[in-house]
Amino acid sequence: MIALDQTAREAGGRIVAALAAAFRDLDLAEEAYAEACARAAAVWPAAPPLDPAAWLYATARRCALDMIRKRNVRGRLAPDAPEPEASAEEILASDARLIPDERLRLIFVCCHPAVAPEARAALTLRLVCGLTVQEIARAFLVAETAMFQRLTRAKKKIAQAGVSFEVPGPEAWPERLAAVLSTLEVAYARAHEDAAGAGTHAGYAREMLGLTAVLAELLPEEPECLAFAATVRFAEARRPARLDADGAMVPLSEQDPRLWNRPLIHEADALLRRAARLNRPGPRQLRAALHGVWCVRRSLAEPPPWSAVLALYDLADRDDPFVRINRAVALAELGGPAVALAEIEALDAARLDDFQPFHAVRADLLARLGRRDEALAAYDRAIALAPGPAERLWLVRRRSDVT
């Protein structure tokens, strides 16, 4: 059912957010939306709607009202009459643009400091981005049942503790914003991983442009917020160059900069400059700057900015294994694969065993050093962990190049 899948991906988060804001009840919003999707699956093949998103929203609203009525029946004699089905006229007049955009509000709910930190990103991914519990569990490397319980506990806490469904006032931003930004970063990292842009996360990669634009507009004096908006733009600008004709991933240094989205890069540059003028450096500005130095490149004829990349990684948090792995990539170009491999081997391999970039980078360095068998084994591990077909294809190709 392509129409339903696509609508759910593109508009699901917005519909759930609008329901949650209207009814101030996350469970109800989720259940009503799921019920509307089930009805769509049954009805759409025979009678496709004019505006699928508007149909889902209207149906989910009706389901929510019915559910509230059923809950209220306990202790009363007769239930109210059910909400009438939409008339043909209503269906014709319905328009997805009329669904209020409450996602920002929902994000602040999901990322409230009263919610357990380990549940915030998961809850945002579930409700705002519509990922399944299974997908989220995989992203956070926990069992599905554990993730389900974590989400259930968080929703119960929000409902019972009376977490507000409002965007907080400016006086609360410093406290509330850090939680929101780190949550969105986790969410965007998942979207960005999906190089093909065709997986379940591609839809919200684009939504993230909208969400970060709203955040940057709401919080023009928050450099980390502007920097995150810049990062999303830099990364999305490169999306057209991230796959080759066969659908394999193209690494950043081999991407043709002429395919990059220049207007989006200019937007990102402007955001990053605004952040820098506020003169309060932070890790997100550093990350945005790393994207920025790559995006200066105009064609493959220009040399890649390895020394700038290495200098920026030297300023980053050395306790972050992702930083260390990426730093090693730059180091390999400047100081040779042996130095870079020594850096990689110094990391806690057991802890990173499920971390695909660790194995991919290690495999490449081993191959360059002529350690064939070890390189092949590392590639096998990376391929097994590849997040999508584009990465897998690229890794398989690299593996076959090992001589």
Binding site: H112, A161, G162, V163, S164, E166
Partner: protein, 115 residues
């Protein structure tokens, strides 16, 4: 919604030579209670005497036993509480931040149940 704001503080802050701290904090509590009353959100509350005045009744295996002292022997003890009626958790937190504390301490914000 109704919330209980439970105040946990180190009682040493108010003992012995710190008697003046106690007087000051009581004055501040009286002022806060009056303000909350005027704002129409105060539903109840009280200060509590120190933990060494507490007697705890414990039921275990159908048997009751009394023991001297508070429920938990912790550095910070429950020293008082407010009961307030506010729209949501953020509003309750805003009240919690207005509660006077003599030094380091905690305010636990708990919604009450309907019944």
């Amino acid at each position: 919604m109704q919330y209980a704001l439970l105040i946990y503080e180190n009682e040493e802050l108010y003992r012995g030579d710190n008697g003046r701290a106690l007087d000051e904090i009581i004055t501040a509590h009286v002022a806060l209670a009056k303000a909350l009353e005027e704002e129409g959100i105060l539903r109840g509350g009280s200060g509590l005497n120190t933990g060494d005045t507490a007697t705890t009744l414990r039921k275990s295996g159908g048997q009751y036993a009394l023991h001297d002292g508070p429920y938990a022997e912790a550095r910070e003890q429950l020293g008082g509480f407010y009961l307030v009626e506010v729209p949501d958790l953020d509003a309750a937190m805003a009240v919690a931040k207005r509660i006077p504390l003599a030094g380091d301490g905690s305010v636990e914000v708990r919604p009450t149940t309907d019944c």
